[in-house]
């Protein structure tokens, strides 16, 4: 998620409402939590991507139930 998020950053999430394209979200996949940016939402599936396109790995779309919250603060 470089350059917007760096290793060691802390984020605060908020889980009211669905995220929109461009929002950064925290979500859970197989007992691990990830932070990615919402690319698009289509057919109830949320497509996410990393900001660092050179190194970001592709991840399958997620559903609403996997979302922990929208990132509202980085500190």
């Amino acid at each position: 998620m470089l350059p917007n998020f760096s290793p060691g950053d802390h984020v605060l999430t908020f889980n009211w409402g669905l995220p929109k394209s461009g929002n950064v979200i925290v979500f859970e996949v197989k007992d691990a939590f990830y932070v990615k940016r919402v690319k698009k939402i289509k057919d109830n599936l949320i497509y996410v991507t990393g900001d660092n396109m050179k190194e970001s790995s592709k991840i399958d779309p997620i559903d609403e139930g996997q979302i922990t919250g929208k990132v509202i603060w980085k500190y």
Partner: protein, 167 residues
């Protein structure tokens, strides 16, 4: 911000990751090629096994069966290594943009999977040779996406085949 960090000292936050696998960005088709050479070598070694007569004694049978078992295990293990290594690069490294330039990429990966399965299930020299050939083509595509020229050099392995290296 300092207050939030202070709060986090008492209530540890959940760790989140930005990447699905570590280390991201480190990919190399070399291991797939070495594994494909191993599959070919094991197939050749199984084919080269000979008995001293058409009715060998028990000790010789034991020896041959033991050798075939060991060679087959290595062959099957390395077929799976080829599939694993190619799948990782195909699934994690290649992006949709690459497909516009390398239109046969999906077909090539499909061939690798099928040829590796055939080479694993059978003592099939043609499948093992085809597998190596497909993995070499896959390696050339991979390096081309990075703007690196490739060269095919003698591997120096007993298979006497080539290996694709980036310049």
């Amino acid at each position: 911000m300092r207050i939030l960090r202070l709060v986090d000292k008492f209530f540890s936050p959940q760790v989140v990751y930005a990447h699905c696998d570590v280390p991201c960005g480190i990919y190399d088709p070399h291991e797939a090629q070495v594994a494909a050479h191993t599959v070919l070598r094991m197939t050749n070694m199984i084919n080269d096994l000979k008995t001293s007569s058409s009715d060998p004694d028990f000790e010789e049978r034991k020896r041959i069966i033991s050798q075939i078992s060991r060679l087959t295990k290595v062959k099957e293990d390395h077929c799976e290594i080829v599939k694993h290594q190619v799948r990782i690069i195909w699934g994690d490294y290649f992006k949709p943009d690459h497909l516009t330039k390398y239109k046969n990429l999906h077909e090539l990966v499909f061939q690798v999977m099928k040829q590796a399965s055939a080479a694993r299930q059978n003592i099939d020299l043609v499948a093992a040779q085809d597998l190596l050939s497909s993995v070499q083509k896959f390696a050339e595509i991979f390096w081309d996406t990075k703007g690196r020229e490739t060269v095919r050099v003698k591997s120096g392995y007993p298979t006497e085949g080539e290996i694709v290296l980036s310049k």
